[in-house]
Amino acid sequence: MEIEILTCGDSALTLQVGDRIDPQVAARVRALCRALGQIPGLELVPTYCGVTVHYDPLVRDDAEVRALVRLKAGEAGAEGEASPEYFELPVCYGGELGPDLPQLAAHCGLSEREVVDIHSGGQYLIYMLGFTPGFPYMGGMDKRIAMPRLETPRAHIPWGSVGIAGEQTGVYPSVSPGGWRLIGRTPLRLFDPKAGRTLLRAGMLLRFRPISRAEYDALAGGDRP
């Protein structure tokens, strides 16, 4: 596989395999990660168009890392991927948990039901995690349910909130301020530091499964922000 190596100081390199956000480039990124994963001592961060490789200069030097990544990239095939990894995220849409759903539906000239059907009918490729622990950068949202973000962001968005901002949809893993239009909420913790667990990964295909408020409460258990 062709890679362009960009120098990120004395403890990292970025390997670029494309120049746009699309599923084909994402597939190359995944293939490159699989190949580089065979090299011990590297921390690999997949991003939209490449992989940033972090290493310890006390253990390996620049020349060695460049030689190893070139070797593994050369062996990496762009195809050869097993079936995609799906992840189904239960979401309770609307009501108290999706306060912006009515305005978004009105803005898009759809009923709330139609917005939920469109949003939960899609599958979303996770390109990378970042911004905050566990937060997925996803593509593939239907433009019919797009709406610009709030002009004045909320100071406090509950964790697990599912929202839309422009043509992007996302899920907030933790409480934070934000300008997304909130249409629902998942009871699952995307990031749980005490359990040492992040639910999502780059390369997964995410689907949203509508659930009732009763099922939300049952899955959330005593887990409240």
Partner: protein, 317 residues
């Protein structure tokens, strides 16, 4: 155990950072000044990467509920133990009930306060560092406050060569920071690169553990290029230019970002940056990777020699 009496400006539990979780969007965090952490730990008889308290600007006051050895390294902070002045850069024994007061820094901005045997702080995702932005790790995911108590894992009142456990931290007189061009150096014009490597940049008040914002001469892009890129990964010391001026990204930086990065500060000079405070100025010098890595290894070797010399000490006569 220590108890915080007064919290100082920003005091957090930090070790050398959280590795292996950046793919999940978890920032590395850890000490802003790795050299100060390593040195304080060596003087206190610990492995270099043991968790310590990172002190910023104005230090905390704390009480020792158990005797232990401690040491501070980094900026030149005004300190006293039970009212008697003590110095940064050497190990001391604090008896039970002793009061340690760390005031303002006469030079530098940050220091690490290490305790022999380390702190009783849970390891979360492989590290004891505090992730302030996501609110986890360290002591309850937040800065220390008055009334907080933290236990010692293995306190001691004796170490080999106690009287010789001292090291003068090399505070830079002039902040000249070496940086390797890239990853998006190609987006800048030759004039822009020249401005970056010759301009004097002043740290602004909008600076914190995520990064240092600066004021100074505007850096020009190549025609047709601008500050936005498709988000990619971010190395420690990466210098982003979202708006004509450099922002140096530090310990709590996000793992990915969408602005052009003109250069990356070398690991050996991250401690120089960490000792800067708002109002201070710096200049950047071009560097290449191989000499940068050599400089880092040399600095670590000096610290390892210090550790060996202190801890391998035989009986004194």
């Amino acid at each position: 155990m220590i108890e915080i009496v007064s919290k100082g400006l920003l005091t957090t539990v930090q070790d050398m950072g959280r590795r292996g979780h950046q793919p999940s969007g978890v920032p590395v965090c850890g000490a802003m000044d790795w050299q100060a952490l390593a040195a304080a730990n060596i003087l206190a008889g610990n492995p270099m990467d043991e968790a310590a308290l990172e002190i910023t600007g104005l230090g905390p006051e704390l009480v020792f509920h158990e005797a232990n050895i401690f040491a501070v390294s980094g900026g030149d902070f005004d300190m006293s133990l039970d009212g008697a002045p003590i110095a940064v850069g050497r190990a001391y024994v604090a008896p039970r009930g002793a009061r340690l007061k760390i005031g303002a820094a006469r030079a530098g901005f940050r220091a690490c306060l290490a305790f022999c045997g380390g702190l009783d702080i849970p390891v979360v995702l492989g590290s004891r560092s505090t992730c302030l932005t996501a609110g986890f790790g360290g002591h309850e995911g937040r800065p220390l406050a008055a009334g907080d108590r933290i236990g010692f894992r293995a306190p001691q009142t004796w170490l080999p060569a106690l009287e010789r456990r001292a090291w003068a931290y090399p505070l830079a007189q002039k902040a000249r920071v070496r940086a390797v061009p890239g990853p998006q150096d190609a987006a800048f014009s030759p004039e822009g690169m020249a401005t970056f490597f010759s301009g004097v940049y002043t740290i602004t008040a909008e600076s914190n553990r995520m990064g240092y914002r600066t004021a100074g001469p505007e850096i020009a892009y190549k025609p047709g290029c601008g500050p936005n890129i498709i988000s990619d990964g971010i190395a420690p010391g990466a210098v982003q230019v979202p708006n004509g001026r450099p922002i140096i990204l530090m310990a709590d930086r996000q793992t990915v970002g969408g602005y052009t990065k003109i250069a990356t500060v070398i690991t050996a000079d991250l401690p120089v940056v960490a000792q800067l405070k708002p109002g201070d100025s710096l200049t950047f010098e071009p560097a290449e990777v191989a000499p940068a890595q050599a400089a880092y290894r040399a600095a670590v070797r000096r610290l390892r020699s210090l550790a060996f010399e202190l801890d391998a000490a035989g009986p004194e006569w």
